[in-house]
Symmetry: C2
Subunit: 254 residues, 2 copies
């Protein structure tokens, strides 16, 4: 299978490296930034282009790992008719690609990917969807090369999954940030919180989260909750969050 | 050092087991529930009592691991004058014990402890505070027996630490619960989110959380945020959380 990889960001980079390490042939990288496209193509041992009109037409699979806004545009006039085109986004329907080619699909790795940290793709759930059974088999084969967890997920489920991911990843990370800020204000080291953060996540590996909920809200300890509201007086927006989440915790336990 | 352990809940149980495994002598367990006190004393190979008046007076250390509300009461008429008494709470000042004994302190393990899961105490930060240098040395020795991470933290810092812990543990776990609920509504397996949860926590082990913030809020992707608000129409309280946190994420990045 010969792949053209479209995009040069975190996801394109991590996916490209993972595919390359499994000896999947990437024949070209496309990106708007010459320096990024050149760098990534160097890692993957292939050519690159910054021009949409110079995208090679002889690949078996076109993998779009660009920002959501750019998806409709990138391949709109590339001249693809029959080749398989997939996007990698959690929140975009498969249908957006029906105007691009007769054969299309989605290849969505559900993980937070960043420049700073490598990721073991074998543990990353890959969610696939395709316009035909044959395309699905092709994507399934590719996904199983990379990961032990391959799921067939339709577009409605996938956007719900992406919404859930915002809560358990993006919002959770923001709460880590709030924790760090609160410690900094009292000259305390974030290392104090790190074992707690890891243990909280490790518990979610083993249990259903509502079953292991702890803290003043679930114990209905008013005194401590009032103390916390006072401590947050300088941060009215965190006070509001504290109130809202505490009352939510009680609701969900009922 | 001979210890009387007061309490039979998660913290008392985990602390008792950890101390016992380091050959610290626990001479008595006190608890209001006979079945729980009897069970824990069995684990620790000591006697137990359910009567405050039968608490032994010949220990070197009285360790209070009862609920915050019960702290002032438990030892109020026990006849202790000079023995070292500590509580184990993040949110209560050390001063609450000055009425109980001449020698007092705090021994606060910063971790989420539950019946369902054992914890490796050697990685748990233990925060100590004491009424004198000699008491501090005694608590430090005990804490270092259990953990590699012992911190001297005063009462003002400790309650701030506890507030931070509510954000990075209790509130985070609630977001795991929301994620699970959202998946259940579309017949999706929580296992899909587990690698993401773990990777998000693992990133916080290595980086400062604001530096690795990802998601539609930090990318300022309006289209996806609007889609998510629509998907949450059946959950107005989660919609409110989504809005509030997304605008907070943008604020904190500035």
């Amino acid at each position: 299978m010969r792949i053209v990889l479209l995009g040069t960001g975190n996801l394109a980079t991590r996916l490209g490296i993972a595919l390359h390490s499994k000896h999947v042939e990437i024949i070209q990288v496309f990106g708007r930034s010459e320096s990024k496209a050149s760098y990534l193509s160097g890692l993957l041992g292939c050519s690159f282009t910054t021009s949409r009109h110079a995208i090679r037409m002889d690949a078996d699979l076109y993998m779009l790992a660009v920002s959501e806004d750019a998806i409709p545009e990138v391949l709109s006039d590339a001249g693809i008719r029959k080749q398989l085109v997939v996007h990698t986004s959690g929140s975009i329907s498969i249908d957006i690609l029906s105007a691009v080619s007769e054969n299309f699909g989605v290849f969505y790795p559900l993980q937070t990917l960043s420049k700073q940290k490598e990721v073991d793709f074998s543990t990353v759930p890959i969610c696939i969807e395709a316009s035909s059974g044959e395309n699905l088999r092709m994507l399934s084969k590719l996904a199983n090369l990379l990961s032990d967890q391959v799921y067939q997920i339709d577009s409605v489920q996938r956007r719900q999954l992406h919404l859930s991911a915002v809560f358990v990843c993006n919002f959770v990370n923001h709460f880590y940030s709030i924790g760090e800020k609160l410690l900094q204000e009292h000259q305390l080291d974030f290392n104090l919180l790190r074992p707690l953060i890891l243990e909280t996540a490790n518990k979610a590996m083993l249990f259903s989260p509502p079953d292991v909920q702890t803290g003043p809200a679930v114990r209905n300890n008013q005194q401590i909750q009032e103390q916390h509201m006072k401590l947050l007086e300088q941060h009215p927006e965190w006070q509001q969050l504290y109130k809202l989440i505490s009352s939510n915790i009680k609701l969900l336990q009922q």
